[in-house]
């Protein structure tokens, strides 16, 4: 274990996987010579050379598709689509092509590839650079979606993603870029699909992930009268139903907290599933906390109000626990 920053953990994962497996290649805008727009790919070019580490033009559709073709032909490309918002120009390649290759060929081809994007929520990047679009990706059969909220998870999930035989979308939090924490050297892998229970509790289950997870942690530290169980989903699709449902069966209450717009967000899937599966155990209505129905605003005071901040989370925790079932 060494103390490592979030971005360095990502960097380590790339270094380790490229060293381990010759078929891993890295392509993207500014990833080679500049070492990545935010340094995540630093040193890869020097270590693995210009064939395996390539700067690309600003052509997200072509580079995602090229990664796909290379994956079908035996490589394990890791392609960087710088900000998650930019996947909008490569959506066909992600959704219609990469995610469906295995299915459409009945397993004759597979697409062992990773797409990495930053989500910049909380960094004042404005309406076209701070979207939380994980709900779109999760709605696509065949595409796995992971998002580590800690340096250790960012690293371990990326490694798992690279080793997965299908396409995995890896989201990374720019707001956590310089967060330091203990990270294992070498072979720590978080299996895709496994959530982490960050905090055990009895009264309420809070499910969160990605950019919201650190704010949930802060909030939980502020709450003293409620025993909160916090689950960091880590994998958004396929999500860890067992862990979440098991927890809600115990606590009887659910609050989902995410940075995406509430409406039609990932929280809806989790809340709806829990509402169905834990119907008899629920002691209070399932609740969701997320961004209001608006694009991500730029100004700090607006973005603060937009994203679920710790005070709002504690308020919602209290509110959820205080709701009592009326006669039905």
């Amino acid at each position: 274990m060494t103390v490592t920053k979030y971005w360095q953990a990502i960097n380590q994962a790339l270094h380790e996987e490229m060293a381990r497996d010759d078929s891993v290649i890295v392509i993207g805008e500014d990833v080679a010579a500049p070492g990545g727009p935010f340094a995540a790919t630093k040193g890869l070019l020097e270590s693995f050379g210009p064939d395996r580490v390539r700067d690309t033009p600003i052509s997200e559709a072509a580079i995602v598709g090229a990664a796909l073709g290379a994956a079908m032909a035996g490589y394990r490309p890791v392609v960087e689509v710088m900000f998650l918002d930019f996947v909008t120009v490569a959506m066909d390649q992600v959704v219609n092509q990469a995610a469906k290759v295995s299915y459409m060929s009945a397993g004759n081809f597979s697409a062992p590839m990773v797409i990495r994007s930053i989500c910049a929520s909380g960094r004042r990047t404005g309406p076209q650079h701070a979207q939380n679009l994980e709900a779109w990706l999760a709605h696509v059969p065949g595409l796995k979606v992971v998002w580590g909220s800690t340096p250790a998870d960012a690293k371990a999930l990326l490694k798992a993603a690279i080793r997965d035989d299908g396409p995995v979308y890896v989201i990374e939090s720019l707001a956590e870029w310089s967060t330091r924490a203990e990270v294992a050297e070498g072979e720590e892998i978080v299996p895709i699909g496994s959530a982490a229970v960050r905090h055990e509790g009895e009264d309420l289950t809070v499910v969160t992930w990605g950019g919201a997870a650190p704010r949930v942690a802060t909030a939980v530290d502020l709450v003293h009268d409620v025993s909160v169980e916090v689950i960091d989903l880590r994998t958004i699709s396929p999500w860890d139903r067992e862990t979440v449902l098991g927890s809600v069966r115990k606590t009887g209450r659910l609050l989902v907290v995410h940075d995406a717009v509430v409406e039609f967000g990932v929280g809806a899937e989790i809340a709806a599933t829990v509402a169905t599966e834990c119907f008899d155990q629920l002691r209070a209505p399932v609740r969701r906390l997320g961004a209001p129905y608006a694009p991500a605003p730029f100004a700090p005071q607006l973005e603060e109000a937009y994203l679920p901040h710790p005070e709002a989370i504690t308020r919602e925790i209290t509110r959820t626990v205080q709701t009592v079932r009326n006669a039905s």
Partner: protein, 331 residues
Amino acid sequence: MTTTRDARTSIGRDLALDLYQTMMTIRRFETIAGELFAAGRLPGFIHLSIGQEAVAAGVCAALEDTDYITTTHRGHGHCIAKGGRVTEMMGELYGREGGYALGRSGSMHIADNAVGILGANAIVGGGIPMAVGGALAAQLAGHRQVSVSFFGDGAVAEGVAHECLNLATLWKLPIVFVCEHNGYAEMTPVSTHLANPDVTQLAAAYGMNATAVDGNDVAAVLAVSREAVARARNGGGPSFVQARTDRWRGHFEGDPQRYRPREEVQAMTDRDPIAAWRSVLGAEHGVSDDELDSMDDRITAELTSAVEKAEAMPLSDPAGLTRFVYPEASR
């Protein structure tokens, strides 16, 4: 433009017959598919490449099994020419368990790892980056494989096509872009969808070799393809081939084609690539009409058998509906 005479001289009798066989197999496959569709036996939509067979045959004759191709909604011909198995193709058109994709995908998504068919594609332009990726893999592996992307004139208006031309040129990838230029994007003529209908000029601007060829002349297509493929194999980077050809049928089967006069289609049949090649076979290789007729019969028999086999295949099993959403085995 490579002249037909130059092109022909490098083609021996066997290859000449192979080209004929490929073209005729495509023609018959699609004619039968069209009939089956009209008879209500095939579900969905199908798009036929009748009239365009020389492009598929000519280009793929320049390729090895290990080379890659991607193609389009109008891709039966390319798949057949690249070595796709007609029975599994037919089974897929029927939506049967014995089809290439166990009936999951239909006519627009034939893929076969064994012969380098990375896939047909129902998204216009969607397959081009995949071919670039095949070329990237080939370059990385040092296998001297070549990747070919077939697409139509309509696809040239999709931005991703240009991204690929730029990227392939930058990276000197072993790829040949083959624009099958039939003058239509669905019901819209090229004059309405491309500002410059000579796509070689767009491609050449990236700095790659770009050649226009008569796409109804299989020898000419083969000649330019060989040149382009050799360039790619030798590290010379990408090439662009524009093959002007004719779509005899509607955009899809059932298209009433109100947007063009009957005479236009009539004139196309006068440029029939197969009839033309039949004459060459006779005149230059001394192949008799009888020989060709019996080849035609063998092809018809093979395809009739493919249809019979497809009809005998079990329906795709709904129990397997969610199989292969994720890959089942690791590589």
